[in-house]
């Protein structure tokens, strides 16, 4: 269907197909009938809403296994809980690799958690594939050749906003509200990338908040009084919803850019008030499962069918489920391209050799591309605006 096997991929397949036994030694976690993949995810604790991603990954591989696996191998997917605690991630990752003997780690979640194991993974030459965080650092192929991200990085996203502003509103004054952590700070970096020398002139105020702050009211007041007419918000859903409502109450009407982490209709916009969010802009790369425009879209139909059969009862407005579907499908493609050579080296080589992969849950025109010098599989987004009722895509697909 959507999997376009590249010439190179097929060539690799042909070249390594014959000898199966030889690979058992240099391809840990691989047997004639199965391949073991490991994963860490916050299944418990405050961040456990993200557990939905690992659940979707699991369901996807169940589907693949029912369909006969990849190249005849079943996927044995082990997802362990790290409760979003970096030391726990180190422990669970070591367990997966050293005790459970997985071939590699797929879609481990959380910037601090995955940062904690990055050095270990690279020292032991175990692929850390399609990390489930938007930090930019997962694309550092030169220093960490065994680590790769998947989604557009926060930094890329912010740079796209900057690009749009330079084109459309070059005279604007920008205020930034960010969560004081990796995630929030990447937006500052991205704006710096995008605005370049004009950053100092255009960004008039930055304000940070902590996840223990009950409200962002004080920050909103500070930002409003800076006289900015553009607001870039890099906040997780709870504070994003507060921001949308507060600036509406303050009757401050900046052009509002919202991180795509916090654009869920159910978790952010409805609580904040649909009218309050009107005019808000974000960058999108996935199809929004709640958007009626995709009701008859073949790709989303495929996803819905998957949800019905393999995740019955799960929340179909939760975009973590589209995310898990998309990233797992990417994984499947890499395994297909690997053919019978499932050595860690070849897995990494094929992961860095994805060409124009079309994933049904991604927006039309956004495809997955990697190369030995591009470890950012998705680098494009399309802007969309909240009309007060739904998201409306506008402009064309923008790459940073």
């Amino acid at each position: 269907m959507l999997n376009r096997r590249t010439l190179l991929g097929s060539a690799a397949l042909v070249a390594v197909a014959p000898v199966l036994r030889a690979h058992a030694e240099d391809a840990p976690g691989v047997t004639a009938g199965a391949i073991k993949l490991g994963n860490t995810n916050p299944h418990s604790g405050p961040a456990s809403a993200y557990g939905a991603i690992a659940n979707a990954d699991t369901a996807y591989f169940n589907m693949i296994n029912e369909q006969g696996g990849v190249n005849g191998r079943k996927i044995d997917f082990i997802s362990l809980d790290d409760a979003y605690s970096p030391p726990k991630t180190v422990e669970q990752t070591r367990r997966l690799i050293e005790q459970d003997g997985v071939a590699f780690i797929f879609n481990g979640l959380g910037t601090p958690c995955q940062s904690a194991v990055r050095a270990y993974m690279n020292a032991h030459k175990v692929p850390q594939l399609f990390v489930a965080t938007g930090a930019d650092k997962w694309g550092d192929y030169a220093h960490f050749p065994w680590t790769m991200g998947w989604q557009p990085s926060y930094r890329t996203e912010a740079a796209i906003y900057a690009k749009y502003l330079l084109n459309e509103k070059p005279q604007s004054k920008i205020a930034v509200l960010y969560q004081n952590d990796d995630f929030g700070k990447d937006y500052l970096l991205g704006l710096k990338d995008g605005l370049g020398a004009k950053y100092g002139e255009m960004v008039v105020k930055e304000a940070s908040y902590e996840t223990t702050d009950p409200t962002i009211d004080s920050q909103a007041v500070t930002l409003q009084s800076s006289g900015a007419d553009v607001l870039v918000t890099a906040a997780t859903p709870k504070w994003a919803a507060q921001t949308i409502r507060k600036i509406a109450e303050l009757n401050w009407k900046p052009l509002h850019f919202m991180t795509n982490v916090s654009v869920s209709v159910g978790a952010v916009i409805k609580p904040a008030g649909e009218q309050n969010a009107a005019g808000m802009i974000t960058g999108a790369y996935q199809k929004d499962p709640t958007d009626p425009k995709w009701a008859n879209d073949a790709g989303m139909q495929e996803w819905l069918a998957f949800m019905k059969k393999y995740m019955p009862g799960a929340d179909i407005s939760d975009n973590n489920h589209t995310y898990g579907f998309g990233v797992s499908m990417t994984m499947e493609q890499v395994l297909k391209q690997c053919g019978n050579d499932l050595s860690r080296g070849n897995v990494m080589k094929q992961a860095a050799n994805l060409k124009d992969l079309d994933i049904p849950v991604l927006l039309p025109g956004i495809r997955i591309n990697t190369s030995p010098t591009n470890f950012h599989p998705i680098r494009a987004m399309q802007l969309q605006r909240w009309t007060g009722k739904g998201w409306e895509l506008f402009g064309s697909v923008i790459s940073a």
């Binding site: 299944h43 418990s44 604790g45 809980d81 409760a83 979003y84 605690s85 970096p86 030391p87 726990k88 180190v90 422990e91 070591r94 367990r95 690799i97 050293e98 005790q99 601090p112 958690c113 940062s115 904690a116 050095a119 270990y120 004081n180 952590d181 990796d182 700070k185 902590e210 223990t212």
Partner: protein, 334 residues
């Protein structure tokens, strides 16, 4: 552990050392982590045993110790062993400052102040003013010390043995404190504060000193954690860590050092258990267990054992009428 002959103790240590050669990789990491938690919980035993109050914020000292080691090793090129005393003393000083106001008062003020400390410390570590040193939100990747003198050990083995050695030393240190005269005086103070006050003893100062020592223990544990995990970041030291150490203290038994070791094993291995009981809400498991232990075995597992053994001995040598009395006694320090 009381009165255990030296030979037994040596055998115990030998067995732990042997583990370094029986296990490898991931399991050694777990054992090393357990030793680290044990040292951290010893700190809690010291504070609860002497002041009768509890700390809900030792994760903060753990964090400061870990950062002290990470910063000195990474930014200043210090060897690991040299950072240990610094980490310990920094935490002792912090403990003194935090403990002083709270320990003058009765009630749960120490718990309150330390709880606030546990929540505030991750944010302080991210603060802009300290970013140069702490690496801000990115944290610091620590390079573990290499195996010295060409010893035929893997790095995991070496780290485990180093951790074990420090843990044994700290255990001995704590043991001496707890057996020494100062400790007994402190316990007396705890139990008879008015008498002590009347004797002109500045209880607050002595309690604060005990709290500083307890912070030192946990700081050293943090320093060890830095080289085992080889990464420190504000997110590694969320308040949940302090709570976990506290749960370990209660489960193991606040009255003894052996309890600290049992509690450490619990902190390290219980998540595996909790996952079996209720994957969605391990908190329910921990909370219910915590409450249950406080009701059924206020002395923790160690206290329970001791009572069992004591009961057994009494049964053999003493008339049964004495038995009830012995079992009714609550766990005492050491």
């Amino acid at each position: 552990m009381i009165g255990m002959p030296g030979l037994m103790r040596l055998l115990g240590i030998a067995a732990l050392v042997a583990c370094g050669f029986l296990f490898s990789g991931y399991h050694l990491f777990q054992l090393a982590q357990t030793a680290v938690y044990a040292v951290a919980i010893m700190g809690l035993v010291v504070v609860t045993g002497t002041t009768g109050q509890v700390s809900l914020g030792h994760g903060a000292f753990y964090a400061v110790g870990a950062y002290a080691t990470a910063i000195l090793m990474t930014n200043f090129g210090w060897p690991f062993w040299a950072t240990l005393p610094v980490a310990g003393i920094a935490c002792a000083a912090l403990g003194f400052a935090v403990g002083l106001p709270a320990l003058r008062l009765s009630g749960s003020y120490l718990a309150l102040v330390t709880f606030a400390l546990a929540v505030a410390v991750p944010q302080m570590l991210r603060a802009k003013a300290l970013e140069q040193l702490t690496g801000g939100v990115q944290g610091i990747v620590v390079t573990a010390p290499d195996v010295p003198f060409g010893l035929p050990l893997s790095q995991d083995q070496y780290l485990y043995l180093v951790t074990l050695a420090v843990a044994v030393l700290m255990f001995a240190f704590a043991h001496n404190i707890l057996r020494g005269r100062t400790w007994r005086a402190m316990v007396a103070l705890r139990d008879q504060p008015l008498a002590a006050e009347a004797a002109g003893i500045d209880i607050a100062r002595i309690k604060t000193r005990a709290f500083a020592i307890s912070a030192l223990f946990t700081g050293i544990a943090g320093a060890l954690a830095a080289i085992i995990v080889q990464f420190v970041a504000p997110d590694s030291f969320q308040p949940q860590l302090s709570i976990a150490l506290f749960v370990g203290l209660v489960v193991g038994g606040a009255g003894s050092l052996a309890g600290a070791v049992i509690g450490a094993a619990f902190v390290e291995f219980a998540p595996l258990l909790a996952e079996q009981v209720n994957k969605n809400a391990p908190g329910v498991f921990y909370g219910a267990l915590l409450v249950a232990i406080l009701f059924v075995m206020p002395g923790g597992v160690a206290g329970g054992f001791r009572r069992l053994i004591a009961g057994f001995q009494w049964r053999r040598h003493k008339p049964p009428s004495m038995l009830a009395k012995q079992q009714g006694g609550t766990a005492h320090a050491e």
